[in-house]
């Protein structure tokens, strides 16, 4: 079991969460070319090692979180809210 430290709920089993996907994807503008959109939607770096990924705390606070986790050992380095404004807010709280 992976334990994820949700910034709102505390440390919980990963079975409370659902895995989203790669958090490093930057979606292009709506009028970007088809190949840019193809890259964003279909192509992945598929990192072996630490990667930024999204998890949804579905059976908890239902917040989307950005987790930095190793895809080899499953060790977690950091957990924060996905939304940049919420990230700032959590920083202020500290």
């Amino acid at each position: 079991m992976i334990r994820i430290k949700c910034p709102y709920c505390g440390e919980r089993d990963h079975s409370e969460f659902t895995y989203g996907g790669d958090a490093s994807i930057k979606y292009p503008s709506l009028d970007a070319s088809e190949s840019e959109w193809t890259d964003a939607i279909f192509f992945r770096k598929n990192i072996k090692g630490f990667q930024k990924e999204t998890w949804h705390h579905l059976n908890g606070c239902r917040m989307w979180l950005e987790v930095e986790r190793s895809t080899i050992t499953h060790e977690i380095k950091s957990v924060k809210p996905c939304h940049p404004d919420l990230q700032k807010l959590m920083e202020l709280k500290k």
Binding site: M1, H14, Y19, G21, I41, F43, R44, K45, I72
Partner: protein, 421 residues
């Protein structure tokens, strides 16, 4: 290499089994080859075999970083079927099934292919309709497929939970020619047959670097020295992205996810078919091995990972699915469970294609379906490498299909690799 036949069995019975030679050589790597296949799993070995057999290619090497068959070839649930619907994939998997039907003779090695039927249960009128459509499509293409009503199903498999399942069983879609084979035998059979045609199988040989020159791959750095190959094939599902980036080719429509499989203690003959169950998000498949163990599996572990070990929540999920349809196995103990790393592709379908590098060929993205596909995968990958032209069955199984709007999405799950079970 001594051929297996009645005479040799008889002769060696008399001389104390001393007349058998080793099954394949253990050659020192040469400095150059015509074709180098990276990955000594079923796909790589089958590719090497058909390159030598169908296309008469000489000087072929298969490089394996561990031992042959030690990756996903040894980590699957050995199910073979061809109940696919998408154009191309359907013909491809049907050809694979036909190759399995004759594989023991072809390789002179018993792969223990058992056509015990694949029984896919359904639990709702919607599932029944969807299966009727799929199995009718299969029949129109000449593959066998039939629908069983509840009475036929009860007669064939009396010990499923027909009484108080949360989702009542109402029938099944059945492919009778489907079944299981012995995974190690298939690996050893292809290795032995390829070796006898002169293929060098080089184990403990990990590719650590790729040197490019004028757009081509010039040589490979490996843990056993530098090797040149006129043509290079990747067949390393699970680790495709790593080699792809080693060749400086960027990103792929693939994520690596792990899938677990489970084996119980052995019991007397209990289950004559491959039984599959899928409802309400659960997914479960089970069969009995010739040793008597029940072999089964379920969903992915749901998060991206390269770890070849599974998590416990999935053990519970799979056990719950098992108890939902076969409560009679509740007291069996699990002997082993393990995980393999899958290439999960963006539409759930594989890639056998050319690449931006003119002497590099890609075989990847097998999702859950690599084992059954391996003979045809080898067949068509060898064909592509030898003839430089994809066969019409695999004409859309390339990396540009997403940009062209050709999604071969059998399940209709969309561009999320973990959803293509």
């Amino acid at each position: 290499m001594t051929k297996f036949n009645a005479w040799n069995v008889f002769k060696n019975g008399l001389n104390g089994q001393t007349g058998w030679s080793r099954q394949w050589r253990d050659p020192e790597p040469q400095s150059s080859y015509n074709v180098i296949i990276i990955g000594g799993g079923l796909h790589g070995l089958a590719t090497a075999y058909y390159l030598a057999k169908n296309h008469n290619v000489k000087k072929i090497a298969v490089l394996e970083k561990g031992w042959i068959g030690g990756g996903n070839a040894g980590r699957n649930t050995t199910i073979i079927r061809s109940n696919y619907m998408m154009p191309g994939s359907h013909e491809f998997y049907e050809h694979s099934l036909k190759l399995w039907e004759n594989l023991s003779h072809e390789l002179n090695y018993n792969v223990m292919f058992s056509q015990r039927a694949h029984v896919s249960l359904f639990h709702s009128p919607g599932a029944k309709d969807a299966n009727a459509r799929r199995y009718n499509t299969m029949r129109l293409h000449g593959t066998d497929g039939e629908l069983w009503d509840l009475n036929t199903l009860k007669k064939n498999i009396p010990h499923l939970n027909y009484d108080d399942a949360r989702f009542p069983i109402i029938g099944a879609a059945v492919q009778r020619r489907a079944g299981n084979a012995r995974h190690d035998s298939a690996v050893w059979g292809y290795a032995r047959a390829a070796d006898s045609l002169g293929v060098d199988i080089i184990q403990n040989c990990e590719v650590t670097g790729i040197t490019r020159k004028n757009g081509n791959i010039e040589s490979l750095q490996t843990s056993r020295g530098v090797m040149k190959g006129n043509k290079i094939g990747f067949a390393v599902a699970g680790n495709t992205s790593l080699l792809w980036q080693m060749a400086e080719l960027g990103n792929l429509p693939i994520e690596s996810h792990k899938l677990q499989a489970f084996v119980t203690e052995a019991v007397k003959p209990f289950l004559d078919h491959v039984v599959v169950y899928g409802v309400g998000g659960a997914h479960f498949y089970i069969s009995q091995s010739d040793k008597g163990s029940l072999v089964f599996g379920g969903d992915l572990d749901w998060y991206k990972s390269y770890a070849q070990r599974g998590n416990l929540p999935m053990v519970q999920d799979v056990a719950e699915a098992a108890m939902a349809i076969l409560p009679s196995i509740g007291r069996l103990r699990l002997l082993r469970h393990w995980a393999g790393v899958m290439d999960m592709s963006m539409d759930g379908t594989f890639f056998i294609c050319k690449t931006p590098i003119s002497n590099l060929y890609l075989n990847a993205g097998w999702n859950y379906g690599g084992f059954k596909a391996s003979p045809a995968s080898g067949w068509y990958f060898a064909d592509l490498i030898a003839n430089e032209q994809p066969h019409k069955y695999i004409q859309h199984h390339h990396l540009k299909r997403f940009e062209q709007g050709i999604n071969l999405d059998e399940r209709g799950a969309g561009p999320d690799p973990k959803l293509h079970g």
